[in-house]
C-alpha cells in the first residue's frame, strides 16, 4: 500500500508539469495582452510598449517558462502583473474560502443525497422515489448561477432570513487566523461570528451543492438497486436480519464504490462550479480570482491557480483510490 501511495504521489510531478506547460502555452496563445487590458481605452502603442517592458513581458516565451518553472519548484508562483501581489501568498489566503465553500457543498450533497438515494432504492416506485428523483433531475438541470440568484431573492429579499453574499457582514470585525472562518471563530470562542459565517455560507453551499446532491442521489439509488437484487441480500433477508442491518451492513457497504467515484469526480466539478457561485455570492475564493485573471490576462495568477486546482484534483483522486481499499478489502494495491 505504501509503495502504491508513493508511486501515485510521484506521478503528481509529470501531471503538474504537463498542466503547467499547457496552461502556460494556452494563456499566451489567447490574443490580447496584459498591458492593453490594464490600460484599457488608454492603450496607445507607446504606453503598451512601456508597460510590457516594465512587466518583463518582452522576454522570449521559453525563457519566461523556465523562469516560471524554476521559481514554482521553490514555491514561488510569481507576482500578479496587475496588482504585483505574490501569487503563492494570495493562493494561501484565498483557498480556505473556496475549500470551506466546496466542503460545505459536498457535505450537504452527501447528507441529503446518500440517504435520499438509499430510501429511493429501498422504496422503489414509491412517491418518495418519484419525488426525489424528480428533484434530482431538477437539481441537475438548473444552472447554478440562476439557482443562486433565486435563492438570494427568496431567502434574502423576500424572507429576510439570510444575507445576500460575502463571508461576513460589512460591519463584523473579526481577525481570522487560518481564514477558515468557521474553524477560526470556534477556536476563538466567538460564537456570534461562527453563526454569522454559517448564515453566509448556507445559500452558496446549497447552490453549489445542488448538482452534486442530485448526481449522488441518483448514483446511490442505482448502486443500491443493483446490490439489493443480489443473492446475498436475499440470503440476509432469509436469515431474518432486520431491514436496517441488511441495508447498512450488507447493501450499502457493497454500493459504496461507484458512489465514492462519483463523489471524487464531483469535487473536481465543485472547483469549476465554485467560480459561478463565488461570483453570484461575492465569495472571496480562488474561482472568482481565477476568472478575473483570465479576463485580465494576468498570467501568473492563471498559471498558479490552475496548478493548484490540478493538485487538488490529483490529491482527491488519490484519496478516492485509497478509500476503495478501505471500503472493499478485496481491493489491494501492488
Amino acid at each position: 500500500m505504501l509503495r502504491y501511495v508513493i508511486k501515485r504521489v510521484l506521478t503528481v510531478i509529470p501531471v503538474l508539469l504537463g498542466v503547467s506547460f499547457l496552461v502556460f502555452g494556452f494563456i499566451r496563445m489567447i490574443p490580447g495582452d496584459v498591458a492593453t487590458t490594464m490600460l484599457g481605452e488608454r492603450a496607445t502603442p507607446e504606453n503598451v510598449a512601456r508597460v510590457r517592458e516594465q512587466l518583463g513581458l518582452n522576454k522570449p516565451v521559453h525563457e519566461q517558462y523556465l523562469i516560471f518553472i524554476g521559481n514554482a519548484l521553490r514555491g514561488d508562483l510569481g507576482r500578479s502583473v496587475l496588482r504585483q501581489e505574490p501569487v503563492t501568498q494570495e493562493l494561501i489566503r484565498r483557498f480556505p474560502a473556496t475549500i470551506e465553500l466546496a466542503a460545505s457543498a459536498i457535505l450537504i450533497a452527501l447528507i441529503v443525497g446518500i440517504p435520499a438515494g438509499i430510501v429511493s432504492a429501498i422504496r422503489r416506485g414509491s412517491v418518495f422515489d418519484a419525488g426525489s428523483m424528480l428533484l434530482a433531475l431538477t437539481g441537475v438541470s438548473m444552472p447554478v448561477f440562476w439557482l443562486g440568484l433565486m435563492l438570494i431573492y427568496l431567502f434574502s429579499v423576500v424572507l429576510h432570513l439570510l444575507p445576500t453574499g460575502g463571508r461576513l457582514g460589512a460591519s463584523v470585525e473579526f481577525t481570522a487566523a487560518t481564514n477558515f472562518l468557521l474553524l477560526d471563530s470556534l477556536l476563538q470562542g466567538n460564537f456570534n461570528v461562527f453563526f454569522q459565517a454559517l448564515r453566509h455560507l448556507i445559500l452558496p453551499a446549497v447552490a453549489l451543492g445542488s448538482i452534486p446532491m442530485a448526481i449522488i442521489a441518483r448514483m446511490t439509488r442505482s448502486a443500491m438497486l443493483e446490490v439489493l437484487s443480489a443473492d446475498y441480500i436475499r440470503t440476509a433477508h432469509a436469515k431474518g436480519l432486520k431491514e436496517r442491518a441488511v441495508v447498512i451492513n450488507h447493501a450499502l457497504r457493497n454500493a459504496w464504490l461507484p458512489v465514492i467515484t462519483v463523489v471524487g469526480l464531483q469535487v473536481g466539478r465543485l472547483m469549476s462550479g465554485a467560480i459561478l457561485t463565488e461570483t453570484v455570492f461575492s465569495w472571496p475564493g480562488i474561482g472568482r480570482w481565477l476568472v478575473d485573471a483570465i479576463y485580465a490576462r494576468d498570467f501568473p495568477i492563471v498559471q498558479g491557480a490552475t496548478l493548484f486546482i490540478a493538485l487538488v484534483f490529483v490529491g482527491v483522486n488519490l484519496l478516492v483510490d485509497l478509500l476503495y481499499a478501505w471500503v472493499d478489502p478485496r481491493i489491494r494495491f501492488e
Binding site: P45, L55, H160
Partner: protein, 563 residues
C-alpha cells in the same frame, strides 16, 4: 398510492418543471433575470453609523499615483487630497489643500498658497515640503521609492500622460517651496489643462513619513489628509475607513463614523444587496434595472452628469471612408434617438460632438445631422455606391464590411451588442450592409490599438474635466503629425493644430473658442459618428442623503448620511 395516481403525479410534476424551465430560458452568464420589485416588508430600521457602498470590483491598489482605475480611486478619494478638486457636480476646479493660487501672464509660473493646519492621518503636518516630496516621488525616476515601484512592476502612468514625462522630460522646469506654506511650479510651456490635471485623483498627497515607511507596500497602507482614514482592506471583500477626527475642514467633517466599500462583482447580486439594505448605495446598475429602481419607493436613483461619449470610428485605411460623402451617409443613416431612449436605460443623451454638454468647450451652435435614410442613400450614390456598400477596400484588400461592437458593457455604451445591432439595422435600410463582429475585450483593445478594426464602437470617459483630455487625446497628432493607428490612422493636421494651440493656451475663454472650433471641424468632416453621452446611474436606499455626484467620479463620502 395507486399506480394511476402515481403516474398522474409524475406527469403533473414533469409539466410543472418543463413550464418553469421554458419560462426561465437560459440566458448567457452573467445575465440574470430582471429584478422584479416586490413589496415585501422592509427590514427593521436601525441607527446607522456606517455607510456601505457596493462597488463593482476589487481595488487594484490604494497608492494614487500608480493607479488608473475608478474602483481604486473611489477609495483613495476618501483618504487623500490634492491642491485642488472638482466642485460638487461640475467640472469646475476649486481649492482643496491649496487656499488660492496665481498664474503669471505667460502661463508658466503657478504659485499656490497652501492651507495651514491640515494634518495627515499619522499626525504629521501638511506643508510645502510634503508637496515637494510627493512630486519628487511621482516625477523623479531616481527617487528610491519611485525606482522601487517601477522595479516591482508599477507604473506612474498618468503623471507621464498629463505632465509630459519624468525627470527633465516633464513639463516642470522647477518646483520650489517658497516657504512652509507656498509652492511654486515653473513650467517649460504654458499648459491649459494644468489645474484640471492637478485635480485628478492620482495627484494627491501622501504623508511623506508614512510613504517612506510603507515603501513598496504603499498599495495597502494609504495615509493622506482626507475626511476618512484607512482602517483595513479585506482582500476581495471590502475596504473599511473611519472618520478622521482631526480633519482640517471642520464644517465638512465626516458625518458617518465608518465607510465600508464592499466588493460585489455581479450587478444583480449588488442590486439585491441594496434592496435588502446590506449596502446603502451602489454603482454599476444595469440599464434594464433603472426603471425598477425608480419605481421602488425604498430606493432612489441619481444620475452622474455625463462625462462620457460613445462613438463609431472609421478606419482611414478603408479607401471608402476617405470620402466625406460616405462618412456623412453612415452618420445620416443612424436614427439615434430611439437607440438612446431604448438601449441606455433612460440615462443617455444623444451626442453629436465629442465633449459632453456640461464641458465649457462644448459648441452650442452645432446641431446634430438629421436622420434621413433617403439622403444617406443619395450620398452613397453620389460617392459611387448606388447599390449600397457591403464590401470595402481595407489596406488594399477587398473585404466584407465588418462592424465591431464591444463585448463588455462600458460607461459610454451600457448595451454595446444591442446598440451595435440597432445601428447595423439602420444602416441596412440605407444599403450599408455590415457584418457584426466582436472578440473578447482584451483582444478588441489590442486590435483597435493596432488599427485592425475597420469600423468600430468605442468610447471615452474623461479623466480631468478638461476638453483637452477629451479631444486632444484622440485628435492631437505627434510632433511629426504621423497617423495614429489606435485612432483608425486619423491624420487631420488642421484639427490637430487647433487642439495643440488650445492645449498651450491658459485663458479659459480663449481655449473655449478653440475647442468649439475643433468640434466644428470634426463635425464638418464627420471624422467620427458620436452616438451618445451616458449618465451613469447610481442607486441608493431612500434614506441616504448628502451624496453629491460628480461627472469625473470625484465623489466624497464625508457629506453622506444614512438615516
Amino acid at each position: 398510492m395507486s399506480t394511476v395516481w402515481k403516474k398522474a403525479f409524475v406527469l403533473l410534476a414533469l409539466i410543472a418543471i418543463l413550464a418553469t424551465a421554458g419560462a426561465c430560458a437560459p440566458a448567457p452568464a452573467p445575465a440574470a433575470p430582471q429584478v422584479v420589485v416586490v413589496t415585501a416588508t422592509p427590514p427593521p430600521a436601525k441607527v446607522q453609523d456606517t455607510f456601505i457602498f457596493g462597488a463593482q470590483g476589487e481595488p487594484v491598489c490604494l497608492d494614487p499615483p500608480i493607479i488608473t482605475d475608478g474602483i481604486s480611486s473611489r477609495v483613495t478619494r476618501q483618504v487623500f487630497e490634492g491642491l485642488v478638486k472638482f466642485d460638487k457636480d461640475t467640472f469646475n476646479v476649486v481649492p482643496q489643500l491649496a487656499e488660492k493660487w496665481e498664474v503669471s501672464a505667460d502661463g508658466k509660473v503657478w504659485t499656490f498658497a497652501l492651507r495651514k493646519g491640515a494634518k495627515f492621518h499619522d499626525g504629521t503636518e501638511f506643508n510645502a515640503d510634503a508637496v515637494l516630496k510627493n512630486f519628487d516621488y511621482w516625477r523623479n525616476t531616481k527617487n528610491p521609492l519611485h525606482a522601487a515601484q517601477e522595479k516591482a512592476g508599477q507604473t506612474f502612468e498618468y503623471f507621464k500622460n498629463q505632465f509630459w514625462g519624468f525627470d527633465d522630460a516633464s513639463i516642470f522646469a522647477k518646483i520650489e517651496a517658497m516657504d512652509a506654506s507656498t509652492v511654486r511650479f515653473t513650467l517649460k510651456d504654458p499648459q491649459g489643462p494644468f489645474l484640471n490635471n492637478l485635480a485628478m485623483f492620482m495627484f494627491v498627497f501622501w504623508s511623506p513619513t508614512s510613504l517612506e515607511k510603507a515603501g513598496t507596500n504603499s498599495c495597502k497602507q494609504p495615509v493622506g489628509t482626507g475626511a476618512y482614514k484607512f482602517v483595513e482592506w479585506k482582500a476581495n471583500e471590502q475596504v473599511t475607513l473611519e472618520a478622521f477626527a482631526d480633519y482640517w475642514d471642520k464644517p465638512n467633517v465626516a458625518k458617518m463614523k465608518r465607510v465600508v466599500i464592499r466588493n460585489i462583482p455581479n450587478n444583480s447580486s449588488r442590486l439585491l444587496a441594496l434592496v435588502t439594505g446590506e449596502v446603502h448605495a451602489m454603482e454599476g446598475l444595469e440599464p434594464r434595472d433603472v426603471d425598477a429602481v425608480k419605481a421602488d419607493k425604498r430606493l432612489k436613483l441619481l444620475l452622474r452628469p455625463a462625462n462620457t461619449n460613445g462613438y463609431v470610428a472609421f478606419n482611414y485605411k478603408v479607401k471608402e471612408f476617405q470620402d466625406l460623402r460616405v462618412r456623412q451617409a453612415f452618420a445620416q443613416a443612424i436614427n439615434k434617438q430611439p437607440i438612446i431612449d431604448k438601449l441606455y436605460g433612460g440615462t443617455g443623451q444623444v451626442a453629436w460632438q465629442f465633449q459632453p454638454p456640461a464641458m465649457w468647450g462644448y459648441n452650442k451652435d452645432l446641431k446634430d445631422i438629421k436622420f434621413d435614410t433617403a439622403a444617406a442613400k443619395k450620398l452613397l450614390a453620389d460617392a459611387g455606391f448606388p447599390n449600397g456598400i457591403s464590401k470595402v477596400t481595407f489596406d488594399g484588400k477587398e473585404v466584407p464590411l465588418d462592424f465591431w461592437y464591444m463585448p463588455v458593457s462600458r460607461p459610454y455604451y451600457p448595451n454595446p451588442k444591442d446598440i451595435g445591432t440597432a445601428i447595423a439595422a439602420d444602416w441596412a435600410k440605407a444599403g450599408i450592409n455590415v457584418q457584426l463582429q466582436t472578440v473578447d475585450w482584451s483582444t478588441y483593445l489590442d486590435k483597435r490599438k493596432k488599427g485592425e478594426l475597420s469600423l468600430y464602437m468605442l468610447g471615452w470617459t474623461g479623466d480631468n474635466g478638461d476638453p483637452d483630455n477629451f479631444i486632444c487625446y484622440f485628435f492631437c497628432l505627434n510632433a511629426k503629425d504621423e497617423p495614429k493607428p489606435e485612432d483608425g490612422f486619423f491624420a487631420d493636421k488642421e484639427i490637430s493644430d487647433v487642439l495643440k494651440k488650445a492645449a498651450a493656451t491658459v485663458k479659459q475663454e480663449d481655449r473655449a473658442k478653440l475647442y468649439q472650433q475643433a468640434e466644428k471641424l470634426i463635425y464638418d468632416k464627420t471624422i467620427r459618428i458620436f452616438m451618445g453621452n451616458n449618465q451613469p446611474p447610481l442607486a441608493f436606499l431612500a434614506g441616504v442623503d448628502g451624496y453629491v455626484v460628480n461627472p469625473t467620479g470625484s465623489e466624497y463620502f464625508n457629506t453622506v448620511v444614512v438615516k
